[in-house]
Amino acid sequence: MIQNKNLVVVRNLRKLFPVKAGFFGKPKSFVHAVDDVSFSIKKGQTMGLVGESGCGKTTIGRLVLRLLEKTSGEVEYKGKNIFNFNKLEQKQFRREAQLIFQDAFSSFDLRKCVGDIVGEPLKVHGLASGSELTDRVADLLKTVGLKPELMREFPHTLSSGQKQCVGMARSIALNSEFVVADEPISSLDVSVRAQVLNLLKDLQEEKDLTYLFISHDIRVVRWLATHIAVMYLGKLVEYAETEELFVHRYHPYTEALLNAVPVEDPFKRRERKILLGEVPSPVDPAPGCRFQPRCEYAVDQCRLETPPLVEKSPGHWVACFVDFHGAGNFS
């Protein structure tokens, strides 16, 4: 799956968080937040990252932007390892790769007005100042569908949809190419959600953006993403093109995840297969497949070895020893 024209390539990425350190001592155990994860995103694609809470989605997003230091592995951006960037490259990278937050409001400095917030990236990189800055900010606000007059407002006077749009304006201010969107809609109300999702899609088309789109809601991911990666407890368990995944699933967890989503249509009520048990703790997980304790198909091998990610069919990767096949279209 690792090809040449990829914009972002993640190889064997791993991040451990120390759990609790002794008085002076070394940490005794670690959260395996991201454990040996590899994938790649081509320019213009949207990679959807789904999984349950705490499975490491956010951590991957932050690693890919180098907002966190890795434990091991590498992330290539345009063919270069971002963890080896020098100052200049780093600065350039900061311009091109951006982040959209779950709750844009909390990412604002409440002391600054909208204009300052949106214009800050331009200022930091010395790209504009004075009236030019004002113009650029006005343009940006227009791009995300807001009135330029909002510039002088303070963020708390905005509605939730507007806040999210201001956040996006800030993220695209530097003509970014690659955007990590970490659950950009999950804090929004049903009726506002659609506005933002539409905007994300429009921006992508307009600016040829590449997204890493993180969400735990597979319905949203399906709507937006071209590819889906499913994570479970720090591991990538399945990866495929979106529609392929909704037709064929080779990992029992993916199947369970799709099953768990309620269908928003009373006419399609169905008996669902419920995944039992709880998500175990990511602290020092036992060897073997991480999903194995909850997996009804588990065999002995699952308990002993960690299944590698293999290409089950072209472009469809899965990490499972069992020959599981969940077919059937969810629509």
Binding site: L67, A97, Q98, F101, L146, F154, R170
Partner: protein, 309 residues
């Protein structure tokens, strides 16, 4: 884009949330609308501070010079024989005007408290910022130091300093400072820690803001309110500590005087001259009370951590 329809929306203030809005003294006072007591406290504080600052200009008498024959006169509204302002708080063991001495005493008490808290604040905050922002072993070492120092018997160590350095205002300040900086470091650190992981800082990092720009441009302005809360409350602490030390005779030394010292000196006359200890005590209590009321208000009003929906 027009389909999103967001342009047409007017911004609406969201309810139930108090958020920092800059500028304007009127706006500042308007914030007291729901806590009038805090406003009263603030006004009293301002008055006390003003009196202390301007004591040389407004005090009716010379604080050092007394009339021995006029010793220990009870509070009165009558003008003294030689004319002049009535000794409304009485006169002390040297025949000096107690009101005047309270004005000057407040000057010393507040100077000591402000100096101590000022030094502790700057020192502690910088340490806390460094410790919190950079984390790692720097943080660990600094916080262990804070832990250890916090477990020191504070008053005793202060007394030990005074014992070897000799009692004086300067040494008192040293002693109180040695004991006082940890809380500021702790506070700054915990605030930075909370903020360091916040979306705001991450967002700033994502657009490439430099480290100093981050610490002083983003973090410090956003944690300054809780730090100020601690500053205000600690001011009360240090006034009390100064009073305590001076009362015991290990603090400010005459001919300077502070409220605590006035009580300490006046206490041998308590049976015959109640006014010597009563008024300075009331002043300490009042100042502390107002600082607490005001500090609590600052905390409720500005502290992002206690701001809840």
């Amino acid at each position: 884009m027009s389909e999103t329809g967001l342009q047409d929306l007017k911004p609406m203030p969201s309810p139930g949330r108090q958020i920092y809005k800059p500028k304007g003294i009127i706006r500042f006072f308007a914030r007291f609308e729901y806590n009038k007591i805090a406003l009263v406290a603030l006004i009293i504080l301002i008055v006390i501070f003003a009196i202390s600052i301007f004591a040389p200009y407004i005090a009716p008498y010379d604080p050092a010079k007394g009339v021995l024959t006029e010793r220990l006169r009870p509070p009165t509204l009558e003008r003294p024989a030689g004319g002049g302002f009535p000794h409304i708080f009485g006169t002390d063991q040297q025949g000096r005007d107690v009101l005047t001495r309270i004005m000057y005493g407040g000057r010393v008490s507040l100077t000591v408290a402000f100096t101590v808290v000022g030094i502790c604040f700057i020192f502690g905050t910088v340490l806390g910022l460094i410790s919190g922002y950079f984390g790692g072993w720097v943080d660990m070492v600094l916080m262990r130091v804070v832990d250890v120092v916090s477990s020191f018997p504070g008053l005793l160590v202060a007394l030990a300093f005074v014992m070897v350095l000799g009692p004086s205002e300067r040494n008192l300040i040293i002693a109180l400072t040695v004991n006082g900086w940890m809380i500021h470091a702790r506070m700054a650190r915990s605030q930075v820690l909370a903020l360091r992981e916040s979306a705001m800082v991450e967002s700033a990092r994502a657009i490439g803001v430099s480290v100093p720009g981050m610490v002083f441009g983003h973090i410090l302005p956003n944690i300054i309110s809780p730090l100020i809360t601690v500053f205000v409350l600690d001011l009360g602490h240090q006034i009390a500590a100064e009073a305590n030390m001076s009362f015991l005779g290990f603090g400010v030394q005459p001919p300077k005087s502070s409220w605590g010292l006035m009580i300490g000196e006046g206490r041998q006359y308590i049976a015959s001259a109640w006014w010597l200890v009563t008024f300075p005590g009331i002043m300490i209590g009042l100042t502390l009370l107002c600082l607490n009321l005001f500090g609590n208000w600052v905390r409720e009003e500005f502290d992002p951590l206690s701001r809840k929906h």
